[in-house]
Every structure is written in structure tokens, then in C-alpha cells.
Subunit: 293 residues, 2 copies
């Protein structure tokens, strides 16, 4: 408290320093440092915005509604973090990769822990809906060598843009989910259907904010991956369809140049037969490169 007194009373000029001095006795130094950093930057933002009392109250009420929209299955503050690019920034900071390694992107809310482990080449689409797709490629290290026993956990939305967990009773359980394990050649392959773009939940305060900002709530079509192998960093990422109408305006900023895949429509009857399909299919060939841990 002596320290606070020495700082003097709160003024517009010394505001953040006075608050930081008050936190000097925090037992948890990391918490104290983070609070002080946030206070410093929020005060700087307030000084730049110069909000009226009414505007600040509007912000308070927006945050209040955002908290009150959260429940066991809806996390509106994560959505707010997503649409303001903060989630992707936290992801980027925690996943700086060496040159040549595949880049990460956000996990998203639809991963499930207990998806079935399937043989290579299996079809993860359990309801035969949508346009067929064959996905294949290799799991490599940064020197280009194949990684044996890499675990590939993949999940995606269906042809209408819904995950199985959003349509319980409509889609089969574990539809469009699977876990695969590479052999010594590092290759992987599975069958699925071409995913579609979909909106993030937009019937709450964050959706209203997006509307007022002239933004749509859509994420471009993508496949989710978690790839793990002993001796390598865990990779949480997507691959995207570069022809998706929302590829340049992902509502949550998850797209990176290096995460573009190619979705080639294969119409040649021989190629269709060779791939085990009975009609044209999309071929997606994409390699992932893991960084050594």
C-alpha cells in the first residue's frame, strides 16, 4: 500500500501504472503480469476510443449478454475470441513451426475423443450422402522421410455443413470421423464426402456483432486433422477447399496459404473404377510435415 501511495492517485495520465502498483502483492506472478499487461492495453484502447459513458455501458452490456449466452453446449466468448482473430493469434503463438513443417490452425468445437480407429482406405461417411471423396497423402518429417505409426485423427462436416454431433439422430454416430495409423511408408488414405461451408452459431450477441460489422458467419469447407507421432510435435490443423466461396473471408480467420488442398474432380471411368467408386469423385492429395519435438 505504501507503493500505491508513492504512485499517487489515479489520473488519466498514470491510470495503468496506478492499477499495476495496486496488484504488486499478488501471490501468483504470472496472473499479476497478465492482468497488468491487459490493463495497460485496455487503458490504451480506452484512451484511443474516448468512449462516452453510454458507449462504455453498451460494451459492458454486450459482454454481459455474451456470458449469459454460454451454457454446457454453447461458448459465446470463444466465438467472440474466434471472430476477433484472438483464437488464431493464440494458436499461432503456441504453434510456431520450423520452416517446412505443416502449419496449425484452430481446433474448433466439434472434435470428439473416442472416434473409431479404422483401416487405411476406409470410408468414414456412414450415410452415403454427398459427393464421394478420396483423401490421401503422406506423413513426413522435415527432411522428407516418411513417419511410421503416426496417428491421424480426422473429422469433418457433411455435404450440408453439419457435424454428426450437431445432428444426433439425423446423422449416424461418428459419421465423418476416423482415426488412422500409418505404416513404415508414412502414407494414409480414407474415403469421405466433399465437405461444405457452414456458419458458426450466429443467433447470439456475436452473430449480431458480425451483422453490424457487415460480416457473414461462414467458415469455408475444410477437413480437420490432429496428427501425432512419437518424437514429433502434435499438429492440429485443417485443409481447405481453395474454390470455396468463403475461402478469403473465413469468419474465424483459420485459413492459411499452406493449408490449401486441391479437390480434383475425377471423371475418368477407369480412374473411378480403380479408386473403387461407382461415379465421379473428388481426389484430395495432401502431405503433412511434422516438426520434431
Amino acid at each position: 500500500m505504501t507503493q500505491v501511495h508513492e504512485q499517487g492517485y489515479f489520473t488519466e495520465e498514470n491510470s495503468a501504472e496506478v492499477v499495476a502498483a495496486r496488484n504488486a502483492n499478488a501471490s501468483n506472478e504470472r496472473l499479476r503480469d497478465c492482468v497488468n499487461i491487459l490493463v495497460k492495453h485496455i487503458h490504451a484502447a480506452v484512451k484511443e476510443m474516448e468512449p462516452t459513458q453510454d458507449e462504455w455501458f453498451e460494451a459492458i452490456m454486450f459482454l454481459t449478454r455474451t456470458g449469459q449466452t454460454c451454457n454446457d453446449w454453447r461458448q459465446e466468448f470463444i466465438l467472440l475470441s474466434d471472430v476477433t482473430g484472438v483464437s488464431m493469434l493464440v494458436d499461432a503463438i503456441n504453434n510456431r513451426k520450423p520452416s517446412g513443417a505443416s502449419e496449425s490452425t484452430v481446433l474448433g468445437p466439434f472434435h470428439v475423443e473416442d472416434a473409431p480407429e479404422l483401416p487405411m482406405g476406409a470410408d468414414i461417411c456412414l450415410d452415403s450422402k454427398g459427393e464421394p471423396m478420396l483423401v490421401r497423402g503422406r506423413i513426413l518429417d522435415t527432411k522428407g522421410s516418411p513417419i511410421d505409426s503416426a496417428k491421424i485423427d480426422v473429422w469433418q462436416a457433411n455435404d450440408e455443413g453439419f457435424y454428426d454431433v450437431q445432428q444426433k439422430g439425423i446423422q449416424p454416430d461418428f459419421n465423418l470421423r476416423g482415426v488412422f495409423r500409418t505404416g513404415p511408408d508414412g502414407t494414409y488414405s480414407f474415403r469421405a464426402v466433399k465437405p461444405k461451408f457452414y456458419p458458426i452459431p450466429d443467433d447470439g450477441p456475436v452473430g449480431q456483432l458480425l451483422t453490424r460489422l457487415g460480416r457473414h458467419p461462414y467458415r469455408p469447407a475444410h477437413l480437420h486433422y490432429i496428427i501425432e507421432a512419437e518424437g514429433f510435435d502434435r499438429l492440429v490443423t485443417h485443409i481447405f477447399d481453395p474454390d470455396d466461396p468463403y475461402i478469403h473471408s473465413d469468419a474465424v480467420f483459420g485459413v492459411k496459404e499452406s493449408l490449401m488442398a486441391k479437390f480434383d474432380l475425377i471423371e475418368d471411368p477407369e480412374a473411378i473404377r480403380a479408386a473403387g467408386f461407382d461415379r465421379p469423385f473428388y481426389l484430395v492429395e495432401h502431405d503433412f510435415v511434422l516438426a520434431s519435438s
Copy 2:
């Protein structure tokens, strides 16, 4: 969307610029500017903190609990704004006063609109509890001339640190509240009891944060004022007891040097009799200076 494409995809370096570019089509320019300023500073804070995914999730859950603690009579986000100095900063920005004018401080949550208008000298303490106090002074303009017909709305906590609205059924309605109007000489006076320090509501997430930061939840003893007169800026302020144990550590940073009053204990029998009391009382003499509007 063209603009977004030109900005390129999201990276750690260009994160705030990419988000701002996405908000370019907002219909409300002020909202857009405020969101972009907040995004810029929050991203800067995240880059400085480098939170782990777990730490960021902890922050998300803190904000969620803060929103969920709010209801019709409890506003936990305002408390968060208060204990981080943001409320006082917004107050300071909106109440820059010319030299010589009395300074403002936060309104607080306990003002009521319909307090009774009373004659000068009236006792606003309706339950005779506490140490008697006489408050008097003048309402002046910045040239030192008295202001006629100034309206003085005053309210305070009782000798145990509670406002009437916090103790309905225990304190009389409108206890320690009153509205007074000056005459041509600009003087005011009323009787009350010496107020006591009190805690802000500390049984929620903000109280837990204060504890983890090694801080107490107390506000030093004070009297609230709203002073209005035609041709002058409305003044929302407090006066404080400089001998209060929490005067250097107000939980909401509301104290300013210029808002110190003197609480003189008057024990001289003649002075006691002249003031109309039957025992020692506190004399608080304080002038307020209004800025021309």
C-alpha cells in the same frame, strides 16, 4: 472481400490488420473504429502475454462466469471495469474540467432518482444511528462567485457501510439521501452521520480475482454528490475522509487529491450547542466549483 484478399491471410505479424480489413464494410463507422481499436490493443496484449491455450481458456471461463454472475441487481462486468481502473478512466475522459473546477469521480450503483427535496440544514439521517455530522459549504463558479438555484443531490452509506437500498426493511427508505437547492449566496448545509468504508460485492469472480491479486475489496468512506445548475456542467463526484484506512487503496480507484474533505471532530460545548447537536459532531466544510457549460 477484395480488400481482405489483398491483405493476405492471417499471420502472427499482420493479425490485427487482417481483422480490421474484414470489418471494412460495417455500416456503423463508430462501432467499426471502436472494434478495430480494441482488436489492435487486445492482439498487442496477447502478443506480450503469449498465453498458453490453457491460460487463454482460463480467461474465457473467467469472462463467462463474470457474465453469468450478472442479474437485475448485480452487474459483475461493471465491477470488473471498476477494479481495473477502466470505469475511472472513462469518467476522467468524459469529465475533463477547466482549472479550478471540482473534479468528478464515479457515480456508483447506489444513486436513486427520487430522493426527497429538503430544506437547507435538514438531517438526512432518519434512524439516529452513528456519529452526527454537519456538512456545509458553497457552490461556486470558477471565478469564485456563488451559484444561485444549484441542485445538490447527496447520498451516502451509514455508519456500518450500507446504503438504504442494500438494507430495505432495516434502514428507513431514503435514509441518508436528500436533494437541496441553493439560494443567492450559494451556500448549502445538511446534517447526516459519519459514513464508513465498505466492500464492493466480493462474492463473485471479481472478488476472487481481487483475492488472487492480493487486494482488498474496500472503498474508503465518502459522500456522493450530483450538483447541477443552469449554465454549468453537471458534476458527479464524492468527497472522501482522508483519515480512512483505505484512502490510499480504494478498490475502484475513485479517490483524487482534490476530493479530500476534512472531517473535524467538534467537542467544544458551545460549538455543539450552536450547531444544534447534543454531543460532539464531525464538521465537514467543502466548497464545490462548477465549470461553465
